[in-house]
Amino acid sequence: MSMLRLFSSRRATAPVPSPATAPIARERLQILLAHERGMRGQPDLLMRLREEILAVVSRHVVLDPDKVIVRMERGKHVSTLEVDIELPSGSENAFVPPGDDRRQPGDLRAVPAK
C-alpha cells in the first residue's frame, strides 16, 4: 500500500505537470454567471407578456392559448422579442364581432372544426 502511495505521489509531481485548470474554471464561471444573473427573473416577464398579449388578442380573435408563443432572444447588440400566434383555420369565424362579450379570452367554443 505504502509502495503504491509512493508511486502515485511521484507521478503527481512528475517533471511535466499537467497545466493548472482552475483558472479556466474561474473564467468559464464568471462568463456564465454574468449571463445567468442577467436572465434571472425573465421567465416571469415572459409569462406576463404572454398573458397580456393573449388577453388583448383574444378580445378580437378566438384562439387556442397553447398556440401563442412568446420568445425572447438576447444578442450582443440587439435583443429580439418574438411573438408567434397561430390562428385557427377558417379564421373568418374566429373573429369576435365587436360588442360580442359572450366569448372570453381563451374560450374555444367558436373555433370551427377542421
Binding site: 505521489s9 497545466p19 482552475a22 474554471a25 444573473r37
Partner: protein, 271 residues
C-alpha cells in the same frame, strides 16, 4: 428568540446534511438549544447521520397535518440533551408539506429554542423553497467545483428574492461554507481557488472543511463529526465555523497539503 438558519446548496451531494448535523451538534455543545429539521421529504437522511433512525415515530408532515403534536415528533439527541431532531417523512407525498404548516412549526419552535437549522433538499423545487422560506441566516454549502459554484449562485439569488425576509425588504445573512476541500489538488491548480469562489459568489466565508475520511467514519456510526472525533481536521473546521456563527472572530485556516498542519492565515474575516 431563535435564529432560523437554512443549510442549502442547490446541488446535491455537497455536504448539506453532514454540515447540518456537525454544526447543529457544535451549537448544542456551545450550550445553545438547537432543533435540526430535515426538509428532504421522501429522501430523509439527517436521522441516519445523527444516529436517530430507529427512534423516528412521527415526522414533519405528521405535525403539519396535525396527526402529531410538535413535542411528540421531536427526537432528543442521546448525547446532547439540548439538541433535537425533527425528521422528514420517508413515505408521504411531498406536496403534503405546506407553506402555512411549515410557518406554524417554525413559529412554535422560535419561542422555545435558540437555533433552528433547516436541512434543505437539493434542487430549487418546493422542498428547497420551504426550507429557506423563514430563514434569518443561510449557509450555502459549496464544493470547489464549477457545477456546485453555479448552483450556489442560483440559490443565493433565491435567498435574495424568495424568502419571507426578502419579501419584507430585509436581508437574509448569507455565509458560504466550502466543503470537500482538497489541499493537494488545490496546490496543483486543479481546483478552483477559495478566493475565486468568494469573488464569484460575493458572499463571506464561514469556513473551509477539508475532504476527510473522518466525515465518512462519523456518518457510518451515526454521529455528527464534531461529536465523533472533535480533534479531527473537519471537526475543528466545523467548530470554528460554529464559533463564527455565534459572533466570535476566529482566524480562517486554509487546510494545507500533505505536509499536514502547516496552516496559512487567509486574513479574510468571516461574515
Amino acid at each position: 428568540m431563535a435564529k432560523v438558519l437554512v443549510v442549502t446548496s442547490g446541488k446535491g451531494g455537497v455536504g448539506k446534511t453532514t454540515s447540518t448535523a456537525a454544526i447543529g451538534a457544535a451549537l448544542a455543545q456551545a450550550g445553545q438549544r438547537v432543533v435540526v429539521i430535515d426538509f428532504d421529504v421522501g429522501l430523509r437522511n439527517l436521522d441516519l447521520v445523527m444516529g436517530a433512525e430507529r427512534r423516528v415515530v412521527f415526522d414533519l408532515i405528521n405535525v403539519v397535518q396535525g396527526i402529531a403534536k410538535l413535542p411528540q415528533a421531536l427526537i432528543r439527541d442521546k448525547r446532547l440533551d439540548n439538541l433535537w431532531l425533527l425528521p422528514a417523512s420517508q413515505t408521504k407525498d411531498k406536496d403534503a408539506l405546506t407553506e402555512e404548516g411549515v410557518g406554524r412549526i417554525i413559529k412554535e419552535l422560535r419561542t422555545n429554542c435558540d437555533w433552528i437549522l433547516c436541512d434543505s433538499p437539493a434542487g430549487i423545487e418546493r422542498g428547497a423553497m420551504l426550507a429557506m422560506r423563514h430563514a434569518d441566516e443561510a449557509i450555502i454549502v459549496t464544493n470547489p467545483e464549477v457545477s456546485s459554484v453555479r448552483d450556489s449562485d442560483r440559490i443565493i439569488g433565491m435567498l435574495d428574492s424568495k424568502t419571507a425576509r426578502a419579501e419584507k425588504g430585509e436581508r437574509v445573512e448569507k455565509h458560504v461554507l466550502i466543503t470537500r476541500y482538497d489541499a493537494a489538488r488545490a496546490a496543483r491548480g486543479e481546483m478552483i481557488t477559495i478566493e475565486d469562489i468568494l469573488e464569484i459568489l460575493a458572499t463571506p466565508l464561514l469556513g473551509i472543511i477539508p475532504e476527510s475520511q473522518d466525515v465518512l467514519r462519523a456518518s457510518n456510526v451515526g454521529s455528527p463529526v464534531t461529536l465523533n472525533n472533535p480533534a479531527s481536521a473537519p471537526a475543528r473546521a466545523y467548530l470554528d465555523a460554529t464559533k463564527r456563527l455565534l459572533g466570535e472572530t476566529v482566524p480562517m485556516l486554509v487546510p494545507s497539503g500533505r505536509k499536514g498542519l502547516m496552516n496559512l492565515l487567509l486574513g479574510r474575516r468571516a461574515a
